[in-house]
Subunit: 474 residues, 2 copies
């Protein structure tokens, strides 16, 4: 077989549209110091955590408010030039790449917490506020925001990709936790979706249409989120298992029994080793569940006892408790940094992340065969998972100078996705489609459903300027 | 002022489109005994629980499977004739009325439970299965489906209106509890949205676009729902309060403390009287909260103690417990029948229901002023509410032969909606927009958002044949 050139079989379609000098001049005039065409700035806005390399956007606008976004979109729309919203750049799937050229709209300076309505358990923020900043802002009210992708992502980006994380097993994802949005449409109009009421039957659910639309239908300029009272009691524990299967069978039973566990994460023994090295932890280097229980002291005790009994049935070791808040924070920070720990374990590597999610009863079938395949392939990988949701990530660590490693990783990914789909699951639990999963989406949803998405996109963005080339081809 | 003619200011726009005899002949040929043009059948399919009266549909097709629905839609589409899905006819807002003529597609014979996946806590049903039938089917697995509008509505109808009910305060609404759908589009194509995985970031959230779209974007032909383990312990109690305000203040505090109460319903003293008369209960005829607690025995005890303390602070009486399952069922059946109890309290009357929902901190402001207004107006009413969600219903009982009563009821409704919107709430928590709330939706969402809904509708249903004339004007 001919060795493929680097990434050639995966290279996104690059059809750079013309960005006319009149547009750049108009943006410069309107935005002044909030505007840059410096190569270093453009390059920083033209890449993310994905493996793709495409030319950077032609310019970057640093929006400070909704009007800035609306004006930037209107100017771009007048020239039919793409606009790509940018938060902190932590996408794993190429969402931020200017595959058709255009302008990056950086919303990181839109970082105000606009309203904390503690008595209603809601907070309204600008899209550049990060998840950690939300939590910092609301903790004095005794509240927290649970959604936590590994990176300290922006709330706008998290809404756009329908993100979740370790707490989703109990608290849901961005799908369940965004109440209302302000959005700049493809014509530069500002609309509002939803209200602060907890539920509504008032017309089409535009909020949830925007959540997960990856910037292809509009730029999110304000987000109202649900908050939760900080639990009266929190306990975190690790538990080691003789095999991945034992850990997974424990999780399945915990979920099927309806235990309201707050976090339930799998880390395989290899990844524990990487995490120990990176975060200077002394975790037992075995396959492990990291768990957290939230509730009243009595409820937390009850949950923990139930899970301990189940774990023991599957050969789990005794729980090791993280007792103090500091210990818990250290443990979860280490978990969140697993991705970076893995990257550092193989200098110069990039990770190709998988993101399948299956019904909980199919978790063992989906996961164990994929471990066997990955081990047989011989490519180093990390394996972590929000297994309480049926969601897990392999991160195949490839040397970007070795196309055969990339090819091998994608072969493993394809097999895993095919398996997940055959088990009534999805190709992406939380990372989004971006560039990487367009073909998978078509297989998963079918051409009828993808055509419906396309029809909506075409109707709301007739010139295809909102983050074009992502989710599906037009 | 001139007395308005009956309903004149509310009469839906009736622009009957032509239903050509060729279409009727083709439907007759395709559907045979599953097809009817008998007046009594058409009239039964041309009304719901709303106050509107419009001519019935030209014909009714009784679909038995997805192919039937697809074929009926294709035939209607070829003649640009409207199709209106029909489940059990329990809409309160005119969703089922053939305001532009057309064909009713009755899915009540599509009443099979297709798959119970107990180990994944999911069930897949045809759209004509009712909520009670779902629960009957899954109870032997130790599972239940919590969403419970008052009527024994069809799951298809509940999905189409984004319904909720008494358990939503803990379990969410149809928005949170529909995992996947099969839908027949306006062209008669069959698509699938979502999977059985608990979460997904795979493209636009077509599932939630369809949920709440009131039949205007497609006909739902299959629904996959989340299920929940039957709680280990369930306790239900009533608690009487000296004033509505005392009851409402109790609820607000319960929710703000994060007590995971499963049901938290307000019934005002007048409505308790109606319910007692209708359901032969001996409830104390005072303003009352009906509550239910789900969980482990310890958790239920803890929740109940917390709520009892809060209630006592606001002058609530001691809890009266419904101990046996039979007592509980009797209590909740009586609550679900409150609407019918009220209707029977004024022979010949119709109810005009309100459905506002506000953030919990605004509940007292929204509710109490509206009670004062309703009392001052002198029109009899019932008042019940899913107050834990900030959602409540006045049902103004009007004599349909007295237009001045209708006018008065709508004036009260308008004032209430204006108040709810000013308090960052919604005009409809769970009933949907239908015909009744089109003007309210425009005020609530703004013309930009409603235009976006229209644009989507136009793109997915260019001939406007899917339940036209509902939610917004085209």
């Amino acid at each position: 077989m001919n060795a493929p050139t680097a990434h050639s079989h995966l290279a996104p379609q690059v059809l750079q549209r013309v960005v006319p000098p009149e547009l750049l001049a108009a943006l410069q005039a309107r935005f002044g110091s909030q505007y840059s065409t410096a190569l270093v700035v453009r390059e920083q806005h033209g890449r993310d955590e994905s493996v793709y390399e495409v030319p950077p956007p032609a310019a970057v606008v640093f929006a400070q408010n909704t009007q800035d976004v609306a004006d930037a979109v209107k100017l771009a729309a007048a020239h039919r030039v793409p606009v790509i919203p940018f938060g902190v750049g932590s996408s794993l799937e190429g969402h931020l790449l200017a595959v058709q050229g255009g302008i990056s709209i950086d919303v990181s300076r839109m970082n105000e917490v606009l309203a904390i309505n503690a008595e209603d358990l809601t907070v309204t923020v600008q899209p550049g506020v990060t998840r950690k900043a939300v939590n910092e802002a609301v903790k004095s009210e005794g509240l927290f925001f649970p959604i936590d992708p590994g990176a300290d992502a922006s709330i706008g980006g998290m809404a756009a990709t329908r993100a979740s994380g370790t707490n989703a097993v109990r608290y849901g994802t961005m799908r369940e936790n965004v109440l209302a949005l302000e959005v700049v449409t493809a014509s530069g109009e500002v609309i509002r979706t939803g209200t602060r009421a907890k539920k509504s039957s008032a017309g089409y659910d535009l909020t949830r249409l925007m959540v997960g639309s990856e910037g292809t239908l509009g730029v999110i300029t304000e987000v109202t989120l649900k908050l939760y009272p900080l639990p009266e009691a929190i306990s975190a524990a690790t538990c080691s298992f003789p095999t991945i299967e034992a850990a997974v069978r424990t999780v399945i039973q915990v979920i099927q029994l309806g235990v309201p566990i707050a976090r339930c994460e799998l880390i395989d023994h290899n990844t524990v080793r990487m995490v120990n090295a990176h975060s200077k932890l002394g975790l037992r280097e075995e396959n492990m569940l990291l768990m957290e229980f939230h509730g009243s002291p009595a409820s937390v005790k009850e949950q923990a006892e139930t899970v301990q009994e189940i774990a023991a049935d599957f050969g789990g070791q005794a729980f090791e408790w993280a007792v103090t808040p500091e210990e818990r924070t250290r443990l979860w920070t280490a978990r969140h940094n697993a991705y970076f720990a893995a990257i550092q374990s193989k200098p110069g590597c990039r990770a190709i992340s998988t993101d399948t999610c299956v019904p909980i009863s199919r978790l063992a079938d989906c996961l164990l065969d994929s471990v066997t395949e990955a081990d047989a392939a011989g490519l180093p990988y990390f394996l972590v998972g929000h297994v309480g949701d049926g969601n897990f990530h392999f991160g195949y660590l490839i040397d970007p100078t070795k196309p055969e490693e990339h090819t091998l990783a994608e072969e493993l990914n394809h097999k895993l996705v095919a398996r997940a789909l055959s088990l009534e699951g999805t190709c992406t639990g939380e990372h989004g489609v971006g560039l990487h999963k367009m073909a998978f989406l078509l297989t998963e949803a079918g051409s009828g459903a993808v055509d419906m998405m396309r029809t909506i996109k075409r109707a709301l963005d007739p010139d295809n300027i909102m983050n074009p080339g992502k989710i599906f081809s037009m």
